[in-house]
Symmetry: C2
Subunit: 239 residues, 2 copies
DNA sequence: AAGTGGTCTAGACCACTGA
DNA sequence: CAGTGGTCTAGACCACTTC
C-alpha cells in the first residue's frame, strides 16, 4: 500500500468534482453506493468523504446526503476606515440582519484594556456580541468592546444597527483603523452560532478604531465563515 | 445521549488545554490511556482527538503522540506596495530561504491573462512556484505569474530572491497593489509541500502589482499556513 | 417505510519513534 | 524492543429526511 485507501478514494472523487462530473450543489453517491463501487468498508468510505469535507469540497447533511460545495465568496472591501466592512455587502445588494446576543457592561480582558487605554482603576467597557445574517444565513459573529461613554450614549442604536455608521452619525469620526486578519477554526460555540462543522475555517478581522486625536474608540473581532467571505485591500504608493 | 460521546471527551480535553493543564508543546495522554480513562472504544477516543486537531488545538505525530499546538503567529505587515510581505519577516529577525519548484514560461489561465492584460494572440508569462522556508520550516507557497519580458530579463535573480526587491533594483517601481485575502484548505499538494495535514487552514494573499502608468507587472498568490501567519493592515482616513 | 448520514463497538495489522 | 498513532474490517444501532 503506497497510499492509504481512503486517500486514494477521496482523490478519485476530488478529480470527478474538479472535472465537473459532480457540479456544485450536486449530491455525491451515498456511502452505500461508494462501498459497492470501491469495494471497501464503510469506515474507509466515510474517511474518504471526511477528506473532501476537510478540503472544503463537500458538505454532509444527515438524512439527505453529501453535496458538492458552492464556491462563491462575498468580498469585504477595506477602504475608508469609517466604513464598516459589512456595509460593503449591502452595497452589493446582500440583505443584512443583525441579531444581538449580548450587550452589557463588562471588565474587558487585559489586552483590550490596553488597546482602548482604559483607566487601570476601573476598567469597564460595553461588550457587544452579534450575529450578522446575510440573506437570513448566519455568516459572521462580531465581538466588539466600545468605550463606556459611547456604549451608554448609543445603547439602543448599537443593538440593531452597524456600529460605525452609528458613531459617525453622533459626530464621532473614525480617523484610523488598525486591523489584523487571521485564520481560525470553529470551536463548539462558533460552530453552533455560524452553523458550520466543528473546526471549520473562519476568517477573523481584528480591528481597533481611533477617532480624532488618535484616541481609541472600540476594539473588536469579526469572525466570518472562511468558505463564504474574503477581504480586498488596495495598497497605493505614497506620493 | 444528549451529546455525542466523542464531543463530550474532546470538550473535557479542550478545557484542560485552555485551563493550562496541558501547556503548548506538551504531550496529551496516549490513545490507550484515554481509552482507560473514559472507558470508551478506541475509535471514539480517536474521534475526540480529531476534534481537537480540527480546532487547531493539537497536532498528532505518528509514533510520538499528540501534542498541544503552539499558538504564536508571525505578522505580515501590508504597508507600501513595493515591499514584499515576506520581507517584513526578515526585519523581524526570521531566517528566510527560497526554494524554487517551478520556473518556466507558460500560457496562464484566462483570469490571469486578463489581469496582466496579455495579448490574446500569444498570451505567455513566466510562472514561478516557490516554497518559502521560515527558520528551515516550510511556511508559505508562492505562485506568481510575471510578464514575459520581465521573466526573461530577471530569470536568474528571480529564482533565488524575493520578487519585489529584484524588480525595484531593475527600475521597475511598484506603484500599486490590489490584494485579496482569503481562507482555503490544504489539498494533497499543499498538504505535502507545507507539511500540514490534509484540509489544514491556509491564509491566501492574492495580489496584482502595477508599475508606472497602471501597467500590471505580476499576479500571484502567497499561500501560508493559517496557524502560523496573519496579516496586519492600517487604514487611514484620506485628508 | 426506506434511505441517508452519525455514533459506537471489538479487534486486527501496519508504520513510525525512541530507548 | 515496546509504545505510539494510522489504517481497515464487519457489524450494530440511532437520528434525520423524504415519500
Amino acid at each position: 500500500m503506497s497510499q492509504p485507501l481512503h486517500l486514494d478514494i477521496s482523490e478519485q472523487l476530488r478529480q470527478r468534482i474538479t472535472a465537473g462530473d459532480y457540479l456544485p450543489g450536486a449530491k455525491l453517491p451515498s456511502e452505500r453506493q461508494l462501498i459497492a463501487e470501491f469495494q471497501v468498508s464503510r469506515i474507509t468510505v466515510r474517511r474518504a468523504i471526511a477528506n473532501l469535507v476537510d478540503q472544503g469540497l463537500a458538505i454532509a447533511h444527515q438524512g439527505k446526503g453529501v453535496f458538492v460545495t458552492e464556491r462563491r465568496k462575498a468580498v469585504y472591501t477595506l477602504t475608508s476606515p469609517g466604513l464598516f466592512v459589512a456595509e460593503d455587502l449591502q452595497n452589493q445588494g446582500i440583505a443584512l440582519t443583525v441579531k444581538t446576543l449580548i450587550f452589557e457592561q463588562v471588565t474587558p480582558p487585559q489586552s483590550v484594556q490596553q488597546l482602548l487605554q482604559l483607566p487601570s482603576a476601573e476598567p469597564t467597557a460595553y461588550l457587544q456580541k452579534k450575529i450578522l445574517l446575510m440573506e437570513q444565513v448566519p455568516g459572521c459573529m462580531d465581538i466588539t468592546y466600545v468605550l463606556p461613554e459611547i456604549g451608554e450614549l448609543l445603547a439602543s442604536a448599537l443593538q440593531h444597527q452597524m456600529t460605525f455608521p452609528v458613531l459617525e452619525r453622533h459626530n464621532i469620526p473614525i480617523e484610523r483603523v488598525e486591523a489584523m486578519i487571521e485564520c481560525q477554526n470553529a470551536d463548539p460555540e462558533l460552530s453552533q452560532q455560524l452553523q458550520v462543522p466543528l473546526g471549520h475555517s473562519l476568517l477573523t478581522y481584528h480591528h481597533t478604531a481611533y477617532t480624532t486625536g488618535d484616541r481609541p474608540v472600540l476594539h473588536g473581532a469579526s469572525i466570518s465563515r472562511g468558505d463564504r467571505f474574503c477581504y480586498a485591500v488596495s495598497l497605493n504608493h505614497a506620493r
